[in-house]
């Protein structure tokens, strides 16, 4: 039994290839359905996110180059399914085998392999991939065990290292700062000046943190109305801005204005009217909307896009440091999984051995019983002795053939040594 993981990610493949190859949920179920027909694929799990496409396969193949065979089959399937040529995509894929596959999966789930280290979505995506595999019954003993172990490793990494601690996106960084200023964002009043994807995203994040009233200010009132209705807020005219700043806690600004729309002097007056309550400006616009000197006013905090980027850069480095600690946790988990895997190999062997001996014993007992029916009691002993000998000979037949050379092409002594140790034939060698 072998574990093989084949995939590509943002480091190996450009985005247009990832887009072409990405799998929807339906694609995944369809693919599993078709691949599982092939007996080389015992267990399958497919993970597809915007940054990676990976297939995890457990195969019964015992050849050393099993991963190449699986790779061939997977690529030919892909080329047919997605109308791409094998030679184009082959170099983009990486193949991991057995423990390397396990390690890779652990690293992906712990978000060490992500574009943004420590981002939390990946674990959910792996869970979804596993759920699909379970629903298609393509997850067997190995994938079940491996995926559950993966989830617990990812959870451990998240709780024991600070890998997800620091915000690494503009809107998260803004929220983190807001929390450091206000404690809680609940019921805080937010004002959005202008529009723009990043600014709107930040407002959405704030809404998720249960902020209170949301004002939307826009030069074109209609556009403001649209945005306001999207955020369930209130649209304001541009000239109402200063009056409403008195009640606002967080200002997100993202206009196309070429000059500052709010000066230090204006804000100074507003601060007095606010009784010096703290106000937090997030200026995402380039060129900047808000006079940078406003940051010098007491209780006014201003972060522009570069400041936020600076925060993010520091946090990314912090996460990289934490990632080193995460690798150690993963190393440990891989070793533990390896132990489990080894035990898994022993179990069927023991079962088969037991079964073989049982069949032999059962057969001989049956045979002896049949002959005993007509015989008298004093012939019982020789009959049983005969039976015992027959059982012994049958059990030993294969091992003796094996020792005589059928099993070992090169070195007979290896087999002899193994047998002597296995049956404790030398007094001084005891099994542990």
């Amino acid at each position: 039994m072998q574990i093989i993981l084949i995939g590509l990610n943002h480091k190996t493949a450009p985005v247009h290839i990832r887009e072409t190859l990405a799998f929807s949920k339906d694609d995944i179920t369809e693919t599993i359905d078709s691949l599982i027909q092939d007996s080389t694929f015992s267990e399958i799990c497919i993970l597809s996110t915007c940054n990676r496409v990976e297939i995890l396969v457990v195969t019964e193949l015992s050849e050393k180059n099993a991963e190449l065979q699986i790779m061939e089959k997977w690529l030919s399937f892909l080329s047919a399914y997605r109308q791409v040529t094998v030679t184009d995509i082959k170099p983009l894929f990486y193949v991991h085998h057995n423990l390397n596959a396990v390690r890779h999966l652990f690293r992906v789930a712990a978000s060490l392999d992500s574009m943004v280290i420590g981002e939390p979505q990946i674990l959910g995506q792996i869970k979804e991939a596993y759920r699909l595999a379970v629903s298609k019954k393509s997850a067997g003993v190995l994938i079940n065990r491996l995926l559950h172990r993966t989830f617990s490793v990812a959870k451990r990494v998240r709780s024991e290292t600070g890998i997800g601690d620091h915000a690494v996106s503009i809107s998260y960084a803004a929220i983190e700062l807001g929390k450091k200023i206000f404690g809680t964002l609940e019921k805080k009043t937010v004002m959005l000046i202008g529009a723009g994807e990043m600014a709107e995203l930040a407002v959405e994040h704030l809404i998720r943190h249960h902020v209170g009233t949301i004002y939307v200010v826009n030069r074109t009132f209609e556009r403001g109305m649209q945005l306001a209705s999207r955020f369930k807020g209130t649209a304001l005219r541009f000239d109402e801005l200063l009056d409403h700043l008195v009640n606002v806690d967080i200002v997100i600004s993202s206009t196309g204005a070429t000059e500052c729309i709010l000066s230090k002097n204006q804000m100074k007056k507003v601060m007095k009217r606010r009784k010096q309550h703290s106000i937090f400006f997030i200026d995402i616009a380039v060129p900047r909307d808000i006079d940078p000197d406003i940051n010098q006013l007491e209780n006014a905090y201003l972060y522009d896009i570069d400041d936020l980027q600076g925060v993010i850069d520091i946090n990314v480095n912090q996460r990289k440091k934490e990632a080193l600690r995460a690798e150690r946790i993963i190393d440990e988990a891989v070793v533990r999984f390896e132990e489990w895997l080894r035990n898994l190999d022993i179990v069927p062997t023991i079962k088969a051995l037991k079964h073989k001996l049982e069949t032999i014993t059962h057969f001989e007992i049956q045979k002896t019983c049949q002959t005993l029916q007509n015989e008298s009691f004093d012939q019982l002993y020789p009959a049983l002795e005969l039976m015992g000998n027959a059982i012994m000979n049958k059990i030993l037949h294969d091992p003796i053939q094996f020792l005589k050379g059928k099993g070992f092409h090169k070195d007979q002594s290896v087999g002899l040594d193994l047998t002597r140790r296995m049956f404790c034939l030398d007094d001084d060698i005891k099994p542990n």
Binding site: L177, K180, I181, G183, K275, H277, N299, Y303
Partner: protein
């Protein structure tokens, strides 16, 4: 074992527990593991209970509140500080505060420990309950102001980090500006009535004992200035919106005033409180 040697052992034990608590709290600052602060708090509680016992024993040995020499008054000051800290911790739960309060408590108590041990002098003039009330409320007030100053220091550090966009060691460790500001204000708002009661009970005792409420003694003058200073802070906060950096800075200035009124006046000026700084 007589009460004197019991007191000595207890004093050393209190100092030891406070020092231990300091170590746990500093470890908490370094490693940010909650249990470290919890152990620190546990040690501080143990120390505080022993400290309370120590003060009760002293009370019964001399028959009035033990405040008539420097060692006793410093010990009582630390006790008041820790009391106020526990009361506020209950409400504010700023764990980092422990890391500032415990070293201060340990340091002051350490100084007190190495001062000469006072002889027991039964002084009838201190037996009045007015004296006990005066001492305890004044010291609790001082404790609250000290706490406000500690919170103020935290505020300034955190505010600087956010303003300058440079996150240092403390940025992640300190709570939000809003909660620090609120905490500082609460400390002053509760310390002020304590100080007021402290001054009033002092006046009443002066009337009973010396026949006058107010004599413009240096101690009285500086107490009045302290009182006015904190009254001004509270007024500024409520009427003019003094908050943030201004409040934090004033709280820090305030504690210098408190310390001068408390000890400086005794050493540098003269007055009828001279007794308690004898050693």
């Amino acid at each position: 074992m007589d009460l004197k040697s019991l007191s000595n052992i207890l004093f050393a034990l209190v100092l030891f527990l406070y020092a231990l608590s300091t170590i746990w709290y500093l470890a908490f600052v370094a490693f940010q593991k909650k249990f470290l602060a919890q152990i620190g708090a546990g040690q501080l509680w143990a120390g505080f209970l022993c400290h309370t016992l120590l003060i009760i024993i002293a009370y019964f040995r001399i028959g009035h509140i033990p405040a008539h020499n420097l060692q006793y008054i410093l010990s009582l000051t630390v006790w008041a500080l820790v009391t106020v800290y526990f009361i506020f911790q209950f409400k504010l739960s700023i764990r980092m505060l422990g890391s500032l309060i415990t070293p201060i408590a340990t340091l002051i108590l350490g100084v007190a420990y190495f001062l000469p041990k006072p002889d027991i002098v039964i002084d009838k003039q201190f037996e009045s309950l007015w004296v006990s009330a005066h001492v305890i409320t004044s010291l609790l007030g001082n404790g609250a102001f000290a706490l406000a100053a500690c919170v103020g220091v935290f505020y300034l550090i955190q505010q600087k980090a956010i303003k300058n966009k440079s996150r240092g060691f403390f940025y992640a460790r300190l709570p939000s500006l809003e909660s620090l500001d609120q905490a500082g204000y609460t400390c002053i708002a509760l310390g002020f009535p304590m100080l007021t009661i402290g001054i009033m009970t002092g006046c009443i005792y002066a009337q009973i004992r010396w026949g006058h409420y107010w004599k413009w003694d240096p101690k009285e003058v500086w107490s009045a200035m302290t009182w006015l200073f904190y009254a001004a802070i509270l007024h500024g906060r409520m009427a003019l919106g003094w908050r943030g950096r201004r409040l934090a800075s004033l709280a820090i200035v305030g504690i210098y005033l408190v310390i001068f009124t408390f000890l400086g006046v005794n050493f540098l000026l003269k007055g009828h409180h001279g007794d308690f700084t004898n050693f």
